[in-house]
Symmetry: C2
Subunit: 200 residues, 2 copies
């Protein structure tokens, strides 16, 4: 049983800890088959361990779901951080919106976990919600820059929140099949949103 691959005593090196392995397996399973496919027994089997390990590392299924929730927002934050600086605040806003939508459509199951409640008995705790909201900081920065240039007007955080909400709404309806997925219209839509906050 359990060919002792590694012991946690000395330096971790590049070996994967059990926690990392479980998280990676769950993350892949979520991406491939969606939230309904996430069963502790299946995850434990795929990670070559038992369900009990999930409990010692994550405290249970909601704890594992929270790790996936954060992992989803971390990916979003990483993709945003990897974007080139366009130096034009309005262009930057457009790029952020496109990136947001692109990440969401590319990882629909993660997006549902990040903005919906697809896993029973899991509701993101305060800290996770705060972390999620913090991934919108680049958007706030771009709005601030645009306001400083006189290209937008209004309270910075309020405007940023409006853009976030509107962008999320479009993506959410697309993902749920309530409106058609349409890149061109999505772009038009967002441009109009930005226009709505231009000084006139």
């Amino acid at each position: 049983m359990s060919a002792d691959e590694f012991k946690p005593d000395d330096s971790d090196g590049d070996a994967e800890t059990m926690r990392e392995r479980v998280l990676r397996v769950a993350d892949d399973l979520l991406a491939d088959e969606g939230p309904d496919a996430l069963s502790l027994r299946r995850i434990a089997d795929l990670a070559d361990t038992s369900t009990q390990a999930v409990y010692t590392r994550f405290g249970g299924k909601p704890g594992l779901a929270d790790a996936l929730f954060r992992s989803g927002y971390r990916r979003l934050a990483d993709e945003i951080a990897a974007m080139p600086d366009l130096h034009d605040p309005i262009e930057q806003l457009r790029a952020l919106a496109l990136a947001y939508r692109r990440v969401a459509l590319a990882n629909p199951h993660h997006y549902k976990l990040m903005t919906g409640r697809p896993i029973a008995d899991y509701d993101p705790p305060r800290e996770s919600l705060a972390f999620a909201a913090s991934t919108m900081e680049p958007l706030v920065d771009a709005v601030r820059a645009a306001c400083a240039d006189g290209r937008l007007e209004g309270d910075v955080r309020t405007v940023a929140t409006r853009l976030w909400a509107a962008g999320h709404g479009r993506v959410s309806l697309e993902l749920h099949g309530l409106v058609e997925v349409d890149d061109a219209e999505a772009n038009e839509y967002f441009d109009r949103l930005v226009d709505a906050h231009r000084p006139r």
Copy 2:
């Protein structure tokens, strides 16, 4: 299959059919405790029947979920239909947005079922999605009237869809705790959205 059943001949005119009873119990349970509390066994007990009845009437849990999905959109459609006609298209649009948000915040669990996927193995079928989209027709009508008056410009359905998406986004983030619930800001937000489609 399933012509409407008749009870014995006596005058029980307002008697509830088993299907109605199950649906009402499930609807109350959803409103009171949320989607996670919906278990067929519990519903069957509360409706004084067995789980099997749910299968003959709804085909299973996803079928019951679909009935609740439609019931949620029907309530929304009814509330909208009960609104007085304001005769001013823009005012009508504002009133529709407020009604949409009010219904959503008053029935958060239903709203999650209507726009999210909180019940395992249930994805709304085409017809249910079409029914859901049809509840937005009064919004389309108001946009059409506003365009006819020259108060808005653009393709009618496109503009209506944009307003729907943006409104949904705000409500969704509020319900999920990602932005603060704020009536005044919600109104401001929607007014800006409408402004964005005014001719300039």
